[in-house]
Symmetry: D2
Subunit: 346 residues, 4 copies
């Protein structure tokens, strides 16, 4: 932590800053510049210290220099995290494809979709039973019966499944059915929920909040890792900007950023990231070209009858097209598509 | 709902759109312009319809014309909502002042602060027992013991209290102690939590999410109202922008907007809205000048020793100054400060 | 400037950073923390140094500690800048009101409006002859004939005038007619234009760019001051956020921020800041409550026939109402409205 | 244009809206819904009409349904625009690579860089002689002598050149040297400049403003096309968001959006788009995977001694690596890299 003094701060003010730092057991290190004096804080700083020092007279600014996250940081954990699910590995050379309907609507819809996406090469089935909805008047998912459908289709088709959990009280229930627990964007800072999924021994995918900075996202990841669960992957799904053409602005740059500052795998969701089906394929290709470890895509037998997010869902035909184009780009960046698993634990 | 056809859409495409609308029991109303044809949807539209129509060939755009919220809309409920708490009324002529520490740290800290803010004219005591924290390594509140301190100080000092609830499972517990339940910005779209507080018969204050649009905020309010709880007020606490000088950008314009489109009272929180104590007073004055029904301000006996948010907390002296300046502006806009309540229900 | 080394940086990397700093004639000051080493740069740093150091191996981050602006900084120039225009002073106790049509349309429109706003207490007449327009098909102002109308009405009514200049080549022309030269938001970083207005001996009002940070705005101001023109005031007119209800989000917090970090007067423009006439009055009151030195408001004889920005223009009646409410808030914060000037230099 | 009436609007208000529409020679088309009445405006609407109607009593909202741009719209001009420069075509199957230093510093720096980027496969040389700078104290380019160096190196190395023009008065001068005129992000709405470059018969590249919506960008393009210059390409270079890790957030989604709504070629600039050299390659690959017609990249012999933007510049070695990886992705999406031109018109 660095304390930048004001240009006109006096000796007494500098002395007070030094005294305050020493009063909490740390060392102060003075550096007198041409214009300003700077006081470095040496020792194990604690977060409240920033506010404390910023309020002292003569202080212009306090700048933290340590990163507030450790467990998810590549500086402290240089090796890539890899996660084994259903016979393949996320975060290694293979690129995974999670596909399926936004919301589970019926056994037929889910079964048809699962069969189609597996045939096209998808490796994980997605499908929501608990769905967040901005309006209380919209469809919010089938709930537990949806999870049961998911379990049945999973065994029948032979694909591991990812599904969302929205409430701390439902974590145990959802974990009974899911191979990967998904935390949605709106719950990225639902801290009680993060703690609960951190306690389960299951892989987790944490979506980035709509207006979360990289640092906040990594701190949310830190909540999960701090509970002892290291099977964590991140997922970019678009951020909020001033642009109104798309539902969100997909932040492709965050993919190489996460790869640089963290060891966690990074997935891209171009369906939510754009909100428009005709943007899904170009953004999926872009994500993989930028280094994503996988993509998550919404697919529906009849998008124009979907109960949720039809406008961003691909038809079977378009998903098939996406997969054939994706394969070429995946190989162009020296990776390969994960093969659909033969055996799935049930 | 209005369907805008593409410039080069043909008769068959228009006919399909009309047929789709009629197939769900609604009427289509054609309007042929110089450049484009527009199809109006007449009847009780449902939200999924938008996606459905947008996916049809020849359609350029689908524009909703009804507001997605009803219960919180002034169009459907022209009279102001007023909420009685501790002997005065929120949302009427009186302007209320909620003040206290960000987090409850100890009985002494809370008691001292409550006594001081009441003496200066505050009408409601704030103080958090459950605190959201972006980092798992920061102080997250005293929990239930904090609520007990709040109850004790409330009776001793004679001020109604507002405190945050973060989890559906804790709503009942917190409601036993609080006069007003607060939903924090990060939980604005924690839909399960909204439903739970909607079921309690207690006044609720719903903070705006960091990147929530007015419409999303009102839809979150709609969740609470839809459960039958009409004692709801909103609170602006700053939104996320590109500016880094402040922690957030306080959106003062939302105060008259809420007043225009909704009947719910609106409170302003310049402490979180700015993140810097020296901006709290000017923004509090601005909020009231723009029509806010109240302000919420963080006060601490020694901000430079606070366990949370010291940098945005006022000292007793600065809070006293704020109150004297606030009184003048409140009167300049034809309102008055609510008087500290004599009796508090306990 | 502070160089933060990576956690795993080695002695050789630290030595290279020190050597690089010394190679450009500055001193390096090492501070070894528990986790990281920090290198302070002592001496007169230059802007390119940041990039240079950031590229060296082992460097995690380079943090500037000096502010990049000097002339507009309160640290280096503690006294308030005040500007005399038409018999009163901007930036002192008086609050000025600039009012008039967005665009000058005709002599009658301008004369009527000028007479009305003066009668209601406005102190400066605004009116655009050169108008930026996002579309090439919209009205872009009358040009020089508009300036001539402005000159005629100025003398007839007796109000100093402010008008926009959009191009370096037109600065001299506009300066012949204007008492205050206005730089619009879209031209805040039109650096050639800033240099040209900096060369004139006339007061200038620099609007904040739609997505400009405070620092970028002050650096744009620095361009003007660096040419020797110290008669400069700033104007907040709304920034771009994700919110779509308003045209822009008016940033009221920037008013006390500018007052803290700079000595330049600060004006607020709630007409552009909101884009909706019914938000103009509450935001004007808020701006003054937060410490603005003046407001700029669009007024039109018949907003629903205006050639530009009718939706954000006040009628004469609404402007009159605004002035009576403004007076009360201005006095509540211990200031007074500037009186309409008796004599105007022509 | 669609006028949405308020829920409680009465017959007289509806009649006034109709009368206003007819008074300007257009037709009104009523559509009475369950909740609201909607009035369609039929005929050639003009932009001021929106404000005019929005101000009438009983009106809730006015929604434009025509796009405000025509010349750059794919609806009105379905064929792709292609631009021939130096023996290859921009906007067709070939992907172009523009590379070179941010700012021209010396003949040696430019010549070395031009030679290196050509050897690695670049097809156009970039280099700035007039440089925008947020601070008046930073390097702002060599000016005309820089253009002369550019001309010399162009002939010597045999690459067409692109360079920025910042002021209407300098358009003619810069056009004498440049094969492509570049309009920078900060000048996207410098409307006088747009008009001037529109008058030249030279190819133009228009960068997106830092906070420009797609619509504003296309309207800026429309300014140039409206002057009769159809040799126009667009360039995405990052937008401003709340994220502070990168200088800007590169909006990859805008690439397929521009392809859908416009016929103009689209280039991506990952150097400015990210501000960090180690993000340039992944974002360049992503841009091309998403369909970009070319990329623009900053290259410098010694980035850590660059006078401008060193932190985002690639070394020769890293540029070479980028080109070899780019080639694979370009081919994976069914395109090819443009071959360095043999002959350059001088």
């Amino acid at each position: 932590m660095i304390v930048v003094m004001k240009v006109d701060s006096n000796e007494q003010e500098i002395a007070s800053v030094v005294a305050r730092i020493e009063s909490v057991g740390l060392k102060a290190h003075l550096s007198r510049g041409v214009e300003r004096t700077i006081v470095g804080v040496v020792g194990q700083v604690f977060p409240e210290l920033r506010d404390m020092l910023e309020l002292l007279p003569g202080v212009d600014e306090v700048i933290p220099v340590s990163k507030p996250y450790k467990l998810c940081s590549r500086e402290f954990h240089p090796q890539d995290t890899t996660i084994k699910v259903g016979g393949f590995t996320i975060g290694a050379k293979e690129v995974v494809v999670m596909a399926g309907p936004c919301a589970i609507e019926s056994e037929q819809q889910l079964l048809e979709t699962a069969t189609a996406v597996k045939a096209a090469g998808a490796t994980i089935l997605r499908g929501g039973a608990f769905k967040p909805s901005t309006s209380p008047y919209h469809f919010r998912g089938l709930g537990e019966p949806g999870l049961e459908l998911l379990a049945r289709v999973k065994t029948e088709v032979g694909l591991p499944v990812i599904t969302e959990v929205m409430s701390p009280a439902e974590v145990e229930l959802v974990a009974r059915y899911a191979d990967i627990l998904q935390i949605g964007a709106r719950n990225m800072q639902n801290f009680n929920l993060l703690v609960e999924v951190g306690k389960m021994g299951k892989p987790v995918m944490l979506k980035r909040g709509l207006s979360a900075t990289v640092q906040e996202w990594l701190l949310a990841a830190e909540y999960i890792l701090a509970q002892g669960n290291s099977q964590l992957m991140l997922c970019e799904r678009g951020i909020r900007t001033f642009e109104t053409y798309t539902r969100n602005t997909m932040d492709i740059s965050v993919i190489p950023i996460v790869e640089k500052v963290s060891h966690l795998p990074i997935i891209a969701d171009p369906s939510h990231g754009t909100g428009k089906w005709y943007l899904v394929t170009p953004l999926a290709l872009a994500a993989v070209a930028a280094g994503a470890d996988g993509i998550m895509v919404e697919v529906h037998p009849q998008p124009d009858s979907a109960l949720k997010d039809g406008a961003q869902s691909l038809t079977f035909e378009n998903f098939h097209l996406l997969m054939s184009r994706l394969k070429l780009v995946v190989e162009a960046v020296g990776r390969c598509l994960a093969s659909p698993s033969v055996k799935v634990e049930s």
